[in-house]
Amino acid sequence: MQHVQEKMVQVAGIRKTFGRRVVLRDVSFEFSTGKIVGLVGPNGAGKTTIMKILLGLTPTAAGDVRISGQPVSVNTHQVVTCQVGALIERPAIYPFLSGWQHLQLTTASTVQMDWVVKALQMTAYIHRPANRYSLGMKQKLGIAMALVTRPRLVILDEPMNGLDPQSVKQLRDLLVQLAHEGTTFLISSHILSELAKIIDQVILIDQGRVLLQQTMTQLHQSARAFLVIHTAANQRACQLLQSAGYSVTLREDQLSLPASLALTPLLKIVLDAGIQVLKVSQQREDLETVLLRLLANGRE
């Protein structure tokens, strides 16, 4: 059991500058083996930069990076060579090689190659030269190259780019299956909902800082709940409630209030005024809204 809890990635106090511009400041996070972790943030937040640093592709100004407990830097990244597969920014593709030849460059095992081609359903075009691939085909090949050696850690930078809904679903299923078998994933995206179904944890970054690292359960809990009331005369009900001291907002054709309120006195005000209540329900913020709220808070 102890093995399962092993820390796959540990990042502490990373600082990265491009010239005088500070791109990452004091970035720290860690996660355990077998988890699917989402690295989420707006454009330019520093997701790709963090991934490049994890792979030993980019030097840092300060900080410590470890994968499986072994240090990673530009000049010492043996652990990356042996245990990590990655797709960074755009797939690394030579136009003059076929998809199959790309896989040959990555592994010597045809068993692994056959497996990944089948898993990503690339059989139809794997032997065609890559310069005749569509955007999505290239993206799949990039993912295939990251997965083919069955590495312990897989780093994918916006892997869903250019994939059709069906392929996205296949990829999700594949990632979940591999995670069950013990592979750890770090996946970046600027859209959380794309990842929400599969990730265990989310690391939210903005302007080069980690705003939060939470499990999805924690994130769901921090979604605010609302009381939503439909009445026959929303306008008047809103004014009544406001004058009674409730913080109520009129949105579209419904009234929304904080969920923690006692229902009876509130409804009594509305009913006493002779307004018909059509529907009372509770709603939760969706994850995207939570994220935007957290981002807005972080920037204050």
Partner: protein, 256 residues
């Protein structure tokens, strides 16, 4: 290193240029051989020993191959994948250099081979045993020229590798490489002629090393290069190592 080298060879042999080059060189040599039919015997001998201009064509193609070999990794973004697979990035650079070097040897063997065939169509009074320059036979001359060209080509290839690891696009490296290859000697003479006071230093400039082949054929070049053949040989190696060293460092430090 073995794996890196294997990967580079794998990629290289799947590029069309690798297969088209020998074909083109052979064709161009054939073309030159046709034009030499009406020439005098001594001119024909000259063309035979210089491989029907095949050596020059080879170095042109080698410049293009070297530049694209380095520049394509940055252009296609494949350098990131490569860098993850090796402990040090300069290993990729050295592997690429070795592949081009090996290919250069093959091309030179090809040029010699095609020359052997083309000579049959030349003047029947030409014999491989005929004594030509350096008090050596015609055949020996061809061999010596091939070796000298191979030796001098390494310097040019290392220069192009250096240029390609500095520039975003291979085209720049190709242009400068070709320029250096065909005008470098002139540039060097111009330098040495213009700044007589600095000759003791300027004579070591890399372009002066390109004269190795000429000086070997004609020792009178000594007055122009101010260097002995031995010095030219050593200068070639030193500059090659320097170019490779600097190029490898730039290649390793380049932002990905």
């Amino acid at each position: 290193m073995r794996k890196t080298l294997w990967r580079e060879i794998f990629k290289f042999k799947h590029q069309r240029l690798a297969w088209v080059t020998p074909l083109l060189v052979a064709l161009l040599m054939g073309g030159v051989a046709l034009t030499t039919h009406r020439m005098t015997l001594s001119d024909q001998k000259f063309y035979v020993t210089s491989g029907y201009v095949g050596f020059q064509w080879s170095i042109l193609f080698l410049i293009v191959i070297s530049a694209t070999s380095v520049a394509m990794e940055f252009e296609y973004g494949t350098i990131k994948q490569l860098a993850m697979q090796v402990p040090h990035r300069w290993l990729i650079y050295v592997a690429k250099f070795l592949v081009v070097l090996g290919y250069s040897m093959l091309l030179h063997v090809l040029v010699v081979g095609v020359t052997l065939i083309l000579k049959v169509s030349g003047d029947p009074r030409m014999h491989w045993q005929t004594i030509y320059r350096y008090h050596q036979s015609l055949g020996c001359n061809l061999g010596i020229n091939a070796l000298l060209d191979l030796y001098g080509g390494v310097l040019i290839v290392s220069l192009v590798f250096l240029l390609a690891s500095c520039s975003r696009h291979g085209a720049t490296a190709i242009a400068v490489g070709v320029g250096a290859c065909f005008m470098g000697e002139g540039l060097s003479s111009l330098l040495l002629g213009s700044f007589k006071a600095f000759v003791p230093w300027l004579k070591w400039n890399p372009f002066n090393m390109f004269y190795l082949q000429e000086e070997y054929g004609n020792p009178d070049y000594r007055t122009m290069t101010h260097l002995t053949i031995r010095q030219l040989e050593i200068g070639n190696v030193v500059w090659t190592l320097l170019f490779i060293g600097i190029g490898a460092v730039i290649f390793s430090r380049r932002r990905l």
